[in-house]
């Protein structure tokens, strides 16, 4: 779209930054969102940590598993809810009537979600080390690669999902219908390789299991990126599809029912 700026117009970067700051402010002021974002993964970690506390091998599975779940919930679930809500409320439509470039606006919103991902990964890593004796990540570079790719993948899929959610009331049904089965079959709570073959097959076609594998490699096992090339391929393929669907189906307005 044409973005010819007149003299004195704020720059793209400053507008994206402005939107990002507003989103952060609103995030912290909404107690329920702040609570679920940080308390929930820690609660999971505490529960499973208690259950498996005698077994370091299981703890080593749980910590990257919960980290993977965090990426999924802070990007995929959060953006699916958020976009549905803002579309239904007419906030997207209102923003569209201002000089804010769409790209800068979406960057601000996605940046907000990604900040939560980063905070959670740090929180989980620290809690894993302090409470459960899981070592510091073996390969921080690899960890970054997987977190960044995971964020891109699940953020775009979350935005894409918001296009098919008809209204905010039904959003949690749509999100959970995907989120819950996916975290269960993808080995958040146990080693996915022990799952029945049929479920494992489905999980292998989806991105989360590969993200958790990669996080596990980076955080616990110390396997290099080269051991995860096929997994990276699956994540990238879903990212490309997610981006395509997110952009193509994008609508600024609630469809009339």
């Amino acid at each position: 779209m044409p973005e010819s700026r007149s003299l004195g117009s704020p720059s793209f970067a400053s507008l994206a930054w402005r939107q990002y700051r507003l989103e952060r402010k609103m995030f912290w002021r909404n107690p329920s969102s702040a609570f679920f974002n940080f308390a929930l993964p820690l609660l999971f970690l505490a529960l499973f940590g208690a259950i498996f506390s005698s077994n370091q091998k299981n703890l080593d599975v749980i910590v990257p598993g919960i980290a993977g779940m965090s990426v999924l919930s802070t990007t995929f679930s959060a953006l699916a809810y958020n976009m549905t809500f803002m579309r239904e409320q007419g906030i997207l439509k209102r923003m569209r009537g201002t000089p804010m470039p769409s790209g800068a606006y979406l960057l601000g919103i996605a940046g907000n979600a990604i900040t939560n991902t980063a905070l959670q990964i740090v929180l989980i890593t620290c809690a894993g080390k302090v409470f459960f004796g899981v070592d510091w990540p073996k390969d921080v570079g690899e960890l970054l690669v997987f977190v960044v790719l995971g964020v891109l993948c699940f953020a775009s899929l979350g935005v894409a999902l918001s296009h098919v959610i008809p209204n905010y009331e039904s959003a949690s049904a749509y999100v959970n219908a995907i989120f819950l089965p996916v975290i269960i079959i993808s080995g958040v709570f146990y080693d996915a390789n022990h799952a029945p073959r049929f479920l494992n097959g489905i999980a292998q076609a989806l991105p989360l299991v590969h993200l958790i594998d990669g996080l596990s490699g980076a955080m616990v096992k110390g396997t290099g990126l080269s051991d995860h090339l096929s997994g990276l391929g699956v994540i990238v393929a879903w990212t490309v599809m997610g981006m395509f669907l997110a952009v193509r189906g994008f609508s600024w307005e609630q469809r009339r029912s």
């Binding site: 779209m1 044409p2 973005e3 010819s4 700026r5 007149s6 003299l7 004195g8 117009s9 704020p10 507008l15 402005r18 507003l22 402010k25 609103m26 002021r29 909404n30 409320q89 007419g90 906030i91 439509k93 209102r94 569209r96 009537g97 201002t98 000089p99 804010m100 470039p101 600024w252 307005e253």
Partner: protein, 286 residues
Amino acid sequence: MSTEKAIEVRGLRKSYGDLEAVRAIDFSVRRGEIFGLLGPNGAGKTTTVEILEGYRDRSDGEVRVLGHDPQQRSRDLRERVGIVLQSTGIYRHVTVREVLAHFAGLYPHPRDVDEVMELTGLGGKEDARTRTLSGGQLRRLDFALALVGDPELIFLDEPTTGFDPAARRGAWDTVRSLKALGKTVVLTTHYLDEAQALADRVAIIKDGRILVEGAPSELGAGTGAAYYRVSWRNGDGLLNQRETDDPTRLLHELTSDALARGQVLESLSVTRPTLEDVYLQLTADA
């Protein structure tokens, strides 16, 4: 096209599937005037203004807004236009001042946030979270958000629907103050008195067609609905009314007849139709 015109619309059409919501309308809006689109619900007002605002693509016709085709969604145009949508929400966990400051930051030459709050009657609500505002206050915030970028052209889609009478007067004053600043305003409404009170020119729209267009005071005459109404009371007190295009002749007949019979025509009056008469007549379901 001429630069005297803020908006020019020719042969504009919009269909939603089989429904023709706007059927080849033409109008133009001069810079600095308040233009009213008056019509009942479903007439096509929102469809028309949202095409001018760049929200919807037209099916056919030509549209120019401040020299731009709004469908191109140029940033220059969006910096110069303020929009009050018929209904829309706003961020919940921020204060009135914060949200206005956020929007002000999107424009190259914003107005002072305090001044805009004062102008729109939000004074005293600066630090209230938006989710605590009443419906009327939210509507004022809509106004404020549309004005904070100091636009040349302002679209108001049914801006006072749901207001109590005092709030409506307040909103009208705000609109008049925009005109005083030389702004151009396009206003849609289904309230006749609102169009009459605010608009320099009104187009009455129904079923996607503009039926008449002109200054509110002239709309009665001139157009297809031209007539005079003569009314009087007989000696027995009964009210008589006749409509005519030639009141001179009718009055002559009536008065000479009365004089010849030695009677008086009580309460004799000749009136021209008001905008209300025209509106009711034009929009009555035929």
